[in-house]
Amino acid sequence: MTKYLIKKAGILLASLFIISTLTFFLMHAIPGDPFVQDKAIPEEILKALHKHYGLDQPLYVQYAKYLKGLITWELGPSFKYQGRTVNQIISEGFPVSLVLGVEALFLAVCGGITLGAIASMKHQRWQDQMTMVIAVLGISVPSFIMASFMQYVLAMKLDLLPVARWGSFSQTIMPAISLAALPMAFIARLTRSNMVEVLQQDYIQTAKAKGLNSITILFKHVMRNALLPVVTYLGPLTAAVITGSFAIEKIFGIPGIGQWFVMSITNRDYTVIMGTTIFFSVLLLLCIFIVDLLYCLVDPRIKNPGNESF
């Protein structure tokens, strides 16, 4: 197992290296300058700024410096938000996104599986159709439309929830729902599709023949087998959801980390681009790794990665 973990960590580091290299050179390949505004600033001041941030050096030198910083997890200062370091930006924004993401994830997984289970148990009957219409709406009504609409109805017309901002639990409800809608719909459909297949398996008949009631069968026999693709989807989903969403954070004024992924690029805030990308990569690769482990736990037929021989 230790050997396996070391190997996985090695792969993770190699991937990170490739990602950071690609991102670094990609980011410098696109036109635009971090300091150029609509009100033009004189060339000499621009040069002074570049010198101050080390942008006047050749790219490979900048890259070597960056890698050095990366090793010590010193991600450098933001160019746009002066006086704030990328480390600060991540450590302030991520907890917020994490809380929201976990809430959304909980909603998406519980809601999605429940809806999917109902639909598959009542396959091709009205409950099924109804649930799937809801799921389809969840997929096809984008989160930003839903967010604005909820804001209007729930906050303004009914005055049930605060319009926006971050601080209390009630302020997390609407953003969490908007974030959860799409993954929930997708999980519902995935669950349904798999459960319909699992329900046709012989071992479900065996379970019925034992006299188990349908709830027991559902939870003990169907779920575990039907949720494998859902687990697969959950890895990247978790990474994506806990790192927030640009649109939702903008609409609800949430100080999360999601907006930085877009904002840093439109600002050409190089250090933040690198920092957020690498942070996301680490999260994603970890989530995928965990999912791979989970996968083997859920399905004993797949070789236990700890004992793999190849």
Binding site: R125, Q205, K210, G211, N213, S214, K220, D299, P300, R301
Partner: protein, 328 residues
């Protein structure tokens, strides 16, 4: 004559699909005595599996209709709700299915799969004693190192072992009746024999009645007391094993027997396959279902459906050749 544990009257099963309504089981009557092993034979698609599943209502209700009476002791199972049936399944009637490779949940430990049914019907039993009981069950069905196997997942076991586990599951709640739906079909011959021996052995120990569904007449010969031969959703011949093999009456049974290799017959005797296919079950059948394939077919066979004619105390056959109206 012993008491009958199961009395099926005019059992009909219809499968509904989007295009048609399949009449899979067409008015079957039979009785099963306590401690008896009843074989049900017939080729694939003749409705024997559907009938077995109908007995415990394992056919999805929104896909199938059921009519007739299934008297299990004093209870008419046909009128039972799903919830009521759940108390019967496993506890009163155990089932063994055809394919042990797919009939066990691949993601659940074997022990758990045995224990869960037992605990369901005997909730007062502690999980710990249920566990040791399951080990006993595995021991009884002849699995070596049962304590270790309890923690294994099905994919680590061979087909024969898995079928033994299936039997253990079926027997776990000491049911009075076991429906074994082609229990040996998916197994190779030596394992088949072991499994059949095991079932016989257990039956003598526990006095369970068994309904053994198979298309394999050798299995019938080995285990059964009495046999129903089914064809196109109907019983065409009902007899004791001896009667059936020594004196088959229905032309279908006769052809069936000719179609299997027998060691006691002359090697030069050719095997005769039954030509043609069974009738389409989605259509109403006014004739004898076998008449298109029957070498002895008569005009009446095309026009009427034959009833069961009594040939002896335990021997019935549905063929017009037994019709007393027929000129000798």
């Amino acid at each position: 004559m012993s008491i009958s544990i199961l009395d099926v009257k005019n059992l009909n099963v219809f499968f509904r699909t989007q295009r048609q309504r399949l009449h899979a089981v067409r008015g079957i009557d039979f009785k099963l005595h306590a401690g008896e092993t009843l074989g049900i034979v017939g080729e694939s698609g003749c409705g024997k599996s559907a009938m077995a599943k109908a007995l415990v209502q394992l056919i999805p209700r929104h896909h199938a209709d059921l009519s007739g009476e299934i008297w299990y002791g004093e209870k008419n199972l046909a009128s039972y709700s799903e919830r009521q049936m759940q108390t019967v399944r496993g506890k009163e009637i155990g089932m063994i299915f055809q394919d042990p490779m797919t009939s066990l949940n691949p993601t659940m430990r074997i022990g758990k799969q045995i224990v869960e049914g037992y605990l369901r019907h005997y909730p007062e039993v502690s999980p710990k004693s249920a566990w040791s009981y399951a080990i006993d069950m595995l021991h009884m069905v002849g699995i070596p190192n049962p304590e270790e196997r309890m923690l294994d997942y099905p994919h680590t076991l061979s087909g024969g072992m898995r079928q033994r586990v299936m039997i253990a599951i079926a027997l776990a709640c000491k049911p009075k009746l076991i429906l074994a739906d082609e229990p040996t079909t998916a197994l190779d011959v030596t394992i088949q024999a072991q499994i059949l021996d095991l079932m016989k052995d257990i039956q003598t120990k526990t006095q369970t009645s068994i309904v053994l569904i198979t298309h394999d007449l050798s299995v019938v010969a080995k285990c059964c007391d009495r046999v129903l031969v089914m064809y196109a959703g109907k019983v065409v011949e009902s007899a004791t094993v001896d009667q059936l093999f020594s004196n088959p009456q229905h032309p279908y049974t006769q052809r069936l027997l000719q179609a299997i290799p027998r060691l006691d017959k002359c090697k030069t005797d050719p095997l005769i396959p039954i030509e043609g296919t069974p009738p389409n079950l989605s259509l109403p059948l006014a004739s004898c279902g076998f008449c298109a394939r029957c070498p002895f077919a008569m005009r009446i066979c095309k026009e009427q459906s034959p009833p069961l004619f009594h040939l002896g105390e335990e021997h019935l056959s549905a063929c017009f050749k037994h019709d007393p109206r027929m000129a000798p």
